[in-house]
Symmetry: C2
């Protein structure tokens, strides 16, 4: 059975023709060009759908359903995007508009939530019904699955775990609050922490790695730390502590089978996962008496969005 | 239809004979005496059940089911108490043992979770399927209901919201971590904060209220603040901020209809609720774009446990 998964981003819209086992038959991407009216963008998504179908040599009739991941707040029941600032959508009836061209059951979900669904169905969380998914990127996105069901909150406005306070009166966050997890443990925060450490430690290996890459990135401090650089190690240890604090909050609330870590920073792999795991084992509530929670790297990477959109159709 | 609700505490065990609308026909309590072997304590619970039934003039056969709230970690599927330190229970098959005497379907749940169920079914959250319940007592208990279902985590070990970090590297908590919400916003924490403020402000009205009550309590700072005492007001404002930070974390994750506040501190009523509400409105993620979450006082008070235990049977 064939499904279409659509992953709408600020820069590009990705589409995939995928079966119920997560096998991808065709992939395609188009530029979003978000300055246009929504009707034009949605028309492009319909064309993308037709292109995918043609590429595999089937027709739209062979498609069971379509799933879409949206970077913002959506109402999954009405099929309306409440607000998505990256693509300038506000109160956009995307399902209704898309169904003008493609008359198939169409489901929408928040992109971080959908990535969680994809990982739980096809990726690192395969086989589990209780998964917390954390994206360490520009911000921190969380997608939480409890007993197989995505936690969406009223009108899809929930599961904003990146905006848990982990340090009261702490760093200001773009959400207007202070001390959010995102303000300490996102890639953006790590870059800020690395820059501050470089200013204070001009002899650190971090300077060399940053020069080599042409900028300070989320990798800089990790590269230096792995080479034994003292200042780099301090940055990384503190950053991992920040990540772990939020992970432990999720563990204490949800006690899932897996916490899956995605986003750019997750490329640090075992080095990062093992250190978070150790803190979770030691600091989560109830310690050894409670079931073990495993911290793993998310594995779907760039296909997480389209696969998650299909997982949304299968639920 | 008649149900039995049992609320097991470290000091007393309360029981109620209750119908599906939450009407209480009989109530009774016995001392827990937790130093005894569990078989004796459970035998007492069975006798309590029989006494309740006799009091109303019915028989055990007229009872549909029995619900029990336990102060600890339980496995609702196997009917076993994993661990409950207040009553010295570890791996106690309470349902099997109780059914030796009372042969009726018997359900067990964590006490904070059950209080949440009771409030959602019969109390301040009546009519809603999305409720976060917070008890501000010796510690902080949380019970979370998502789409009508209690969030329990794997093997009943979840929803420990009191152990979310709200201040990294902050006050030590009994759980072994630092900076837990409970370490800042429980009644115990408020008493500690009040004592510190009294030491620094010997002329504060707090001293007078503490002398009158014979001790510093969770009420001391509130009483002084309401009389315009400056030092008392500082304690209360800061304490409310601590409470609100954790409430906002829950709102950002769950976006419920209601956050219900129970426990001793909730007796401060509107004075407390309105101030938490204002912070939630201002600081929760997405602000005005997201559905409003209402902060309310829990209303079942001392009957929350027995009513919640019955709500557990009705789910």
């Amino acid at each position: 059975m064939y499904y279409i998964g659509i992953d709408i981003g600020g820069m590009t819209i990705k589409g995939g023709l995928i079966d119920e086992n997560g096998k991808i038959y065709a992939k395609k991407a188009v530029a979003t060009l978000p300055e246009r009216h929504y009707s034009e963008i949605i028309k492009d998504i319909a064309s993308l759908t037709e292109d995918l179908v043609k590429e595999v040599g089937i027709t739209v009739d062979d498609i069971v359903a379509v799933g879409m991941g949206i970077p913002g707040t959506i109402n999954s029941k009405t099929g309306v995007i409440t607000y998505a600032n990256n693509i300038n959508f506000e109160k956009v009836p995307i399902v209704k508009e898309y169904n003008k061209y493609i008359k198939k059951p169409t489901y929408i979900g928040n992109d971080a939530n959908i990535a969680a669904l994809g990982e739980a169905r096809f990726g690192s969380g395969k086989g589990s019904k209780d998964v917390c998914f954390v994206t360490l990127g520009t911000g921190i996105g969380t997608g939480i699955i409890v007993d197989g069901v995505l936690l969406e909150g009223k009108l899809g406005a929930g599961a904003e775990g990146g905006h848990m306070t982990i340090k009261i009166n702490g760093e200001p966050c773009s959400c207007g609050k202070r001390g959010c997890w995102e303000a300490y443990a996102s890639a953006t925060a790590l870059i800020r922490q690395t820059k501050q450490a470089i200013d204070k430690n001009p002899d650190s290996l971090m300077v060399k790695f940053a020069q080599k890459e042409g900028k300070v990135s989320g990798k800089t401090a990790f590269q230096a730390a792995k080479m034994g650089d003292k200042a780099g190690k301090i940055v990384v240890d503190r950053y991992i502590k920040y990540v772990a604090e939020g992970v432990i909050n999720l563990v204490n609330l949800f006690r899932p089978d897996y916490v899956l870590i995605g986003g750019g920073i997750s490329n640090e792999g075992d080095y990062l996962m093992e250190r978070i795991q150790r803190r979770v084992n030691r600091m989560s509530y109830g310690g050894h008496r409670n079931p073990r929670v495993q911290v793993k790297k998310a594995e779907l990477l760039n296909d997480a969005g389209i696969l998650g959109a299909v997982a949304l159709c299968l639920k």
